[in-house]
């Protein structure tokens, strides 16, 4: 429950391309709408991470405040010993929940959980010694205790080593690199064929508005940027191996210099095709990486993940799959959309 990643803080955009991510100009009504749309995903993600923290916190709070009340709620007999247990455990969880919500790195707080488990062991030991405990239950409970702390310990160690961080993304000073893979249950030829027609890309790539093919190897790309703006560039295919690989890069004069490749390899055991996408964005002179990140309006890592998932949906089921909640394009209860309110 405690493993959400922290939000990356991004500095304000600066330099010659500040209008890409800056959003300092007054917004017209249409731009305002778009801005709402583009940041909706980001907000919902952040909300989710925090929801887990709040979930923990809201439940920890009553334990400290009114252990008597909580004892009643949880159906635990309200005696002195139980009340103390609840209070001690509650205080600790409160600390942990709070840490998850407020700290940029949660590893330290997970270590807090490990310590907490050690404490529970001690508490349970106390319970086992109590004269109310029946012998057979004591045996069962003692055996059950053996595996204590293992999970928390493992997660804390992983997080400390950085394994809990988002994978496949290296942010350099001079640009941003994203690497993502997914397996699609279609042949490499089919998957290659669909991708090769770049006009298909906006169907599953959220931030792409439009791609026009203007020649054998050339295309024109238009992407959404925050604050209702767009960035555009011409791209050319630099390598093209049917059924295997497509690589492209933007041409001179691009708003954001970028390149990408997608590689298709047969997955073992007739599982279809492993699709491996690499994208690289380099900012023009003087622009910080934050501007590029602003292009996505959220974690680029998550964005590409979502794009690939939608790609798979289109390839395998024929369409991008909608649920009642996702049609609203912003956090919304799972209810059917009202007439005319479908976001996409």
């Amino acid at each position: 429950m405690t493993l959400q990643q922290s939000r990356q803080t991004r500095g304000p955009a600066s330099g010659p391309k500040a209008e890409v991510g800056g959003g300092t100009q007054p917004l017209g009504p249409r731009q305002g709408e778009d801005r709402q749309q583009s940041s909706a995903h980001h907000r919902s993600r952040e909300r989710f991470s925090r929801a887990l923290g709040w979930f923990s916190l809201s439940l920890g709070l009553p334990a400290v405040a009114t252990p008597r009340e909580l004892a009643r709620l949880t159906g635990v007999p309200d005696d002195q010993q139980n009340r103390t247990v609840l209070r001690v455990v509650g205080v600790r969880e409160l600390g942990v929940g709070f840490g998850i919500l407020t700290q940029p790195r949660s590893a330290a707080w997970l270590w807090g959980r490990v310590a907490g488990d050690a404490m529970d062991l001690a508490l349970l030991g106390l319970a086992l010694r109590s004269k109310h405990a029946q012998q057979s239950r004591v045996t069962a409970a003692t055996a059950a205790v053996v595996g204590v702390t293992a999970l928390d310990l493992v997660r804390a160690v992983q997080l400390s080593r950085g394994l809990g961080r988002p994978s496949g993304r290296v942010r350099e000073d001079r640009g941003m690199h994203v690497l993502k893979t997914i397996t699609v249950n279609r042949s490499p030829e089919e998957v290659y064929g669909f991708w090769h027609d770049f006009r298909n890309l906006p169907r599953f790539m959220d931030h792409l508005e439009d791609v026009q093919v203007i020649g054998e190897r050339r295309s024109h790309w238009k992407a959404k940027a925050p604050a209702g703006r767009t960035v555009e560039w011409d791209a050319e295919i630099v390598e093209d191996r049917p059924g295997e690989l497509i690589a492209w890069r933007s041409l001179e004069g691009a708003d954001v210099r970028n390149s990408g490749s997608v590689r298709f390899t047969p997955a073992p055991g007739r599982r279809g095709t492993e699709v491996r996408v690499e994208l690289h964005y380099s900012p023009p002179g003087g622009v910080v990486g934050a501007t590029i990140a602003g292009l996505f309006g959220e974690e680029p890592d998550q964005q590409v993940n979502g794009d690939l998932r939608r790609f798979k949906q289109v390839m395998e089921t024929g369409e991008v799959v909608q649920s009642d909640a996702t049609t609203h394009g912003r956090p919304h209860p799972a209810q059917p959309p009202k007439d005319g309110v479908i976001a996409q």
């Binding site: 920890g60 159906g75 139980n82 249950n185 649920s323 209860p333 059917p336």
Partner: protein, 389 residues
Amino acid sequence: MKAITWNGKKSVRVEQVPDPRILNARDAIVKITSTAICGSDLHLYNGFIPTMENGDVLGHEFMGEVVETGSGVANLKVGDRVVVPFPIACGKCWSCQHELYSLCENSNPNAWMAEKLMGHSPAGLFGYSHMLGGYAGGQAEYARVPFADVGPLKVPEGVSDEQVLFLSDIFPTGYMGAEMCDIQPGDVIAVWGCGPVGQFAIASAFLLGAERVIAIDRFPYRLEMARDKAGAETINYEEADVYQGLMEMTGGRGPDACIDAAGMEAHAPGLLNVYDRAKQAVMLETDRPIALREAIMACRNGGTVSVIGIYGGFIDKFPMGSVVNRSLTIKSGQTHVHRYMRPLLERIQKGEIDPSFVITHRMRLDDAPRGYEIFVNKQEACEKIVLKP
């Protein structure tokens, strides 16, 4: 339309929400004729499943009449009577093609949420949190059914709603629970929990050739149903020690397979209950694995523990040493309902089982809030509630 919505812990409401309509080509709209409240809904009701939002339409066990189909649905027509499986499955991905329908790789548009909690995402489910799709559920007058060319089972004339409604979830769930036990002649199966899922696990264990089934619960009326309707022997865990009881009944071997049909909100008498309730209440563990621990400890050497009770997150004090040192097999899953609907319909038609035996309450959709209350508190000898929109 009218729908039952979630509004925070222990609060459900009858609300007006927009009518569903076709969003994807493979959708159908179903006018619901019967729907039910599930033990899984109680986990939502009690606030133990994260990523619910106020206003979410609940319900995942429903059937009705097709009133509209998308352009991609060729096998159904308006007027067909269908039962809808609770997991949403595309039929085209690797998991679907391997009959692992509750693991469909395409039906959860919020997969990234589930990935954070579980590493990978399972399928989207009707009315079961945003992490599992954000789909409106079937405790309503109408429902949109995605991938309607794959999921819904057409119901023939001559069988009533009440006989086939539970093909949507609990009958296949109990059946899969028993199937995972790989029952051999002479096997003794123990089932924790005599809720509707437990009842179907018991009945299915017999269908699959179990010699004896021992059912465990604490509510006399539920134990009685397990004995009289499903044919089990019973242990009331408030009156007897379960481990000792099972050893006495199995010559000290332990049951050949154990089914956990109690799930994450299991209850225990005594100090262990205090411990798990406290830890769950403050989120040091999200689930109370009381029945599961007991099932593991009781299972015979080399036996199977089949977990169909739902767990949402993390558990504590899991007796892994017992599992490893005694060569136990653990099997689990949200039910791959699509796999079982047709064969179980055949069993119903042949008269091998009438699933309506679990129904104790029939109510109007408007009465759902009261239904949740008596079901969660096990009042009025409530076993299973069917709602009629």
